[in-house]
Amino acid sequence: MRDTAETVLALLPADVQYGDIRVVRRTHEQVLVELDGPGEVGYDDSLGLGLRVLIGGQWGFAATHRLDPNGLDSVIAQAVGQARAAGGGGHVALGDPVTTRATWSSPMRVDPFEVPLSTKLDLLSATVKEASTAGPLVQQIEASIDLYRDEKVFANTEGALIEQTLTESGGGLMVNAGNGDDLQRRSFPQGVPRQIRGQRGDFATAGWEHVESLGLVENAARVAAEAVALLTAPQCPDEVTTLIAGGNQLAMVLHECAGHPMEADRALGTEASLAGGTYATPERRGNFRWGSPIVSAYADATIPGGLGSFGYDDEGVPAQRTQLVKDGIFLGYMSGRESAAALGDRPTGASRADGWQRLPLVRMTNICLEPGESSLAEMIAGTKRGILVDTNRGFSIDDQRMSFRFTTELGWEIRDGKLGRLLKNCSYQSVTPQFWAGLDALGGPDEWKLHGVPSCNKGEPLQVAHVGHGTVPGRFQNVQVGR
């Protein structure tokens, strides 16, 4: 892989102002066991390269799975041909050169690819068996493990050469229950927007030890019983009330309300074709009240085990921490080299690509809330009337990342400081700054937990990023909840 990268860079024509290449091998192993079904085992292996060149201030990018000499010549011709076809006159600035030469691997204790398949099948079969104890209304149970490894070589014409290996492990459980009139789903440890295989559960940049730590077997019976109980649970009432969101649920709210809007390329308008723009425009930095004074948020790609952690991004910029919101005020962006230069900033090391075949884009790393001083128990005890919601079931947010609606897999009513009945079909809607302005309590450091979400979509063509979210439970006042 390293030889391929160096060979291609050496073959670039003289009019290339800047060029970089990523040679990436991605390995994915999936094991899935389902109730009364065949289950699945899958092995995916993807190897290729992506070449990006800048000529006359215009970008060209080409990607190929062919690493033979003809394939390399062809990919160079395509990238260069595209850049030249734009006719020059561009004015891309990249800021300071990146010249790092380094090797980095994500930490892990047990290589998950070395764990026998039988061990994985045993764990998942036991999980499904436990979940099946919830009775005949359980219609579907799927337990899965997904393991990813990216071996990446990055090199550029400025002299950088970086080799990285990232290993990610995750697993999850999904239970569907039905009674003819209704269907309800429960997921563990966290939900996904759709029933997407390969992206279910909680993930970390870690080894097999992360899968073992999830407690799939231990929680399976409870989760399945909740799916059944939801069938006969009352509907979430329509009202404006106090909302307490569990850390799991708040992870996705943070993702949509702070993560995407604070990507610098959206602020510069370059994602308008698919994802849209953002309320977090450059002139609002430092003066836009994003939320209540008790909320601060940051992006941090250096957190050990975070699914958005790495050594260097896909432009060779070191992983780092970036403050996004401080004391409720919007402060900064995640950025790559080009977007940072356009904003007059230094890059924050957030430029990442999905595999070898896609262009690097500004992507979230680990987006985290700074913990507060309360606790979930205190928040409930201090609430006269409200609801507690957890585990995301679906959501939608507008193209400026303002108006949103989230629905959760389950909720509970809160009456006079105590949890009451289980509620189904809970959803809530609000507008980003109004919602976060209503935040009056956040869980403390003991409740801070990092969630790994392997299903962040962005870009044209679509790219899927693996990101992390560090959150605590939070309490929000005056929220419209309902069915």
Partner: protein, 445 residues
């Protein structure tokens, strides 16, 4: 990129009995732009070899990006070992791959790839970009993307099936912003030469008409959904309600209602990958011939789409709607090429019948909150207007809708005469006209 039959047969020999290959040679060319400047150009060549081996009711699979024998052998050995470890299933099992290509009655449609896309030249995409940008007012800013795709497909199995085709697609998305408002056009066709790029600036200028901005309307009113908005609505409804697995498991709102009136009698919907009004395709990911499948006839549910596993719901023959292994939107059969019959109302007549109400050009980020209820939430985007007495009188602020799709499709007052081709990330082709929806199911809060 051509896929050699000899390479496929060699791979099948290595992988052994019970194997199916779903091979894609992808060639994508993309030009992106924002703020009226080019921001990215992208060229991608990719070979995807999806392997599925089913032996003794046990299934294992994998993907490669090569047909090199050594790499195939490595995967074959892993799959053989995995199959030995897998327990025997206790319940329903997936059928072994079968050569369904010889099923009677329907021949695979032969798709002619378009020369205009096969011979793609970056200069053409630059011309398109310049045509649209230069046709807008000076104060307008253009964003979007132009994309050319060539897809070489082969599905083959160890029982002798071999199907191949080359598909082409070109698309242009143009989003224009001016004076705080935006409008968009997306055109898709198999043949780039048949995309009327020259007409896009006029459409965008017309959409960006100078009108006052009104206060958000509260309550319910008639809503005219233009084709791009109907595309999203019909595709989402079809995906969740009209697949055989969803139907059989009870997850579909239509479960058990075959032969009953399920939506407005003004609606007739088919899935047909052989109808040149949409994008074409001859076979699905299992190699089943794609069949014209009537789904809704004047509001009455007449069918669902199936794959081999659920063929018993469609007369024992799969309709040709198996999805690829590992598909990110699920593993069950779903519609892929929807066509909604046109009506007889012109766009002006629809607007006149709308009277006082909302005109929605695009539904964005429409997400399902409760599949069984077809409850969804989403927003409007790009050119949402308010009409009075059948005339557009104001821009309406972008708004969020939360509604039941089946209720909206039951409240159709009129259907437009002009259809547009579109696509979705989860659906190959969608051909739909405008729909006028009566007051009631869509509530503006």
């Amino acid at each position: 990129m051509s896929i050699e039959r000899a390479d496929i047969e060699q791979a099948l020999d290595i992988l052994g009995p019970g194997t199916r290959l779903d091979v894609l040679g992808e060639n994508a060319e993309l030009l992106r732009y924002a703020e009226s400047e080019i921001t990215a150009q992208h060229s991608e060549r990719r070979l995807r070899v999806r392997v599925k081996v089913n032996r003794g009711a046990r299934t294992a699979g994998g993907t490669l990006e090569t047909l090199e024998p050594a790499a195939v052998k490595v995967l074959a050995d892993r799959l053989t070992a995995a199959l030995a470890d897998l327990p025997a299933p206790s319940g329903e099992v997936e059928p072994a791959p079968v050569s369904s290509g010889t099923t009677p009655e329907v021949e695979q449609v032969v798709v002619e790839p378009a020369r205009s896309v096969l011979d793609c030249d970056p200069a053409v995409r630059h011309e398109w970009f310049a045509t649209v940008r230069d046709g807008l007012d000076d104060s307008a800013r253009l964003g979007g993307a132009i994309r050319y795709d060539v897809l070489d497909r082969v599905v083959a199995d160890s029982a002798g099936l071999f199907r191949s085709e080359t598909l082409t697609k070109a698309s242009i998305q143009a989003i224009a912003k001016q004076d705080g408002q935006s409008a968009s056009v997306k055109l898709v066709h198999r043949d780039a030469d048949l995309i009327p790029v020259a007409g896009i600036p006029a459409r965008l200028r017309d959409a960006l008409r100078p009108l006052p901005v009104r206060e958000p309307f509260r309550g319910t009113c008639r809503v005219l959904l233009k084709p791009s908005a109907v595309n999203t609505l019909i595709a989402t409804f079809g995906h969740w309600a009209l697949g055989a697995q969803h139907y059989a498991s009870g997850r579909s709102v239509l479960a058990g209602r075959m032969g009953q009136q399920v939506v407005s009698e003004q609606l007739t919907l088919v899935d047909d990958a052989t109808d040149a009004a949409g994008l074409l395709s001859g076979f699905d990911a299992e190699g089943n011939v794609r069949r014209r499948t009537p789904l809704i006839d004047r509001g009455v549910l007449t069918g669902v789409v199936s794959d081999q596993r659920r063929a018993e719901l469609t007369g024992g023959v799969p309709t040709g709607h198996a999805v690829p292994d590992g598909w990110r939107f699920g593993g069950d059969p779903v519609p892929s090429h929807l066509l909604l019959d046109a009506g007889d109302a012109s766009e002006d007549e629809l607007l006149a019948e709308c009277g006082s109400g909302l005109v929605v050009n695009r539904l964005d980020y429409l997400r399902v909150l409760h599949p069984k209820q077809t409850l969804v939430t989403g927003t409007t985007r790009d050119a949402t207007y308010w009409a009075e007495d059948g005339k557009l009188v104001a821009w309406h602020p972008q708004l969020r809708f939360t509604f039941r799709m089946d209720e909206v499709l039951n409240a159709v007052l009129a259907v437009g005469a002009v259809r547009e081709i579109g696509d979705q990330t989860f659906m190959d082709s969608v051909v739909v006209p405008s729909l006028l929806i009566d007051a009631g199911p869509l509530v503006l809060t």
